[in-house]
Structure formats: C-alpha cells, structure tokens
C-alpha cells in the first residue's frame, strides 16, 4: 500500500507524464529534455496555481 500526499502524487504524475511527452513529441535528445522539463513545470505550476485559487475561493 502506498499513500502519498496530494503534492507527492502531483509530482509523480508530472514526472512520468513529462518523460513520455518529452520523448514522443520532440525529435532530438536536447529538445526532448527541454520539452519534458517544460511540461513538468507546467504540470506542477498549474497544480499550485489552481490549488491557491481553490483555497482563496473557499475562504
């Protein structure tokens, strides 16, 4: 059984999805790494921004 925190789950999801997106959507290793990093930042950044928005709306 594995019970990660919400944020850990987001990080794991972003990591795995970004690796696949990077490899499949770009052609050269350098561009793959850059696009993978870009996707990872967007995944995690969007989760943080949306979390704060929901927190502020709920107050």
């Amino acid at each position: 059984m594995f019970h990660p925190s919400h944020f850990t789950a987001v990080l794991l999801f972003a990591l795995f999805a970004s690796v696949v997106f990077g490899i499949t959507q770009r052609e050269t290793p350098r561009r793959m790494a850059r696009y993978g990093l870009y996707c990872f930042v967007l995944f995690v950044g969007a989760a943080i921004v949306l979390s704060w928005l929901m927190f502020l709306i709920a107050r």
Binding site: M1, F2, H3, A9, F16, V19, V20, T24
Partner: protein, 132 residues
C-alpha cells in the same frame, strides 16, 4: 527497395505494425525493436512506474462498463496492453475505491494506459520514418 530511414531505425523489412503492436502490449517494446534503447527504457520505466504506483495506491482496474465514465476508464486501462490482462488475472487493484489515494491510483492506471498508446504510436512513427 527498403526505405533508408527504415535501415537507420534498424527495422527494414518485416511487418510494419510490429513496433506499434509490441509497444502497446509491452511498454517500451516498440522502441526496443527499433533499437532505440534509451528512449525505450525511459518510456518503459515511466509507464510501468505509473501503473505500478496506481496499483500500489489501491486504484481500481476497470472490469466492465456500465456508464460512459466507466467506458472511458476501461478504454484507458486497455491501453496498458498485457499489464491490464495480468492485473485482471492476478486480481490487482481495488474493486471499489474507498480512499482518496485509491481514486488517484485509478487515474494513474488510466493515464499509464493512455501514455502507453502515445508511446506505441511514436514507435510506429519511427518505424514508418515519419519521425527520426
């Protein structure tokens, strides 16, 4: 005459859909067939990792489809290929999601299947020379 791109990918001749089917059945296998060892290993680790974590989080493996959401979930799960068959045969995952992490786990399993389909299509594009 063999396509030069096919030779470069180590896949001249043979069944053109083999990397697509192999990649769907076993994560990364399509890339391994084309001798893309690094890409195949990273894809396999990511997809197997996501599926394994989903199972460890007690995610649900869809067995039937009674409404539209379950149909979509089942379609995503089927993208895992043999992993789906093994998980159903071994009884992995939960029948009912009762905890929050189980719900996350269910999504992890579905998304692992969708990512596997993307990876298999990428292997097919490499095989046909649409991608290098």
């Amino acid at each position: 005459m063999a396509n030069p791109q096919d030779k470069k990918n180590g896949a001249a001749g043979g069944f053109i859909y083999l990397p697509l089917i192999a990649g769907w059945l076993v994560p990364g296998a399509g890339h391994f067939l084309l001798r893309k060892w690094g890409r195949g290993t990273l894809l396999a680790l990511s997809i197997l990792g996501m599926f394994g974590i989903g199972i460890a989080m007690q995610g649900k493996v869809y067995a039937g489809a009674h409404d539209i959401l379950e149909i979509l979930g089942l379609a995503g799960d089927l993208g895992n290929g043999l992993l789906y068959v093994i998980s159903r045969a071994a009884g992995w995952g939960a029948d009912q999601v009762t905890i929050t992490t189980g719900d996350y786990g269910t999504r992890f399993i579905v998304v692992a299947g969708l990512l596997n389909v993307i990876a298999a299509v990428d292997a097919h594009n490499l095989r046909t020379g649409r991608k290098t």
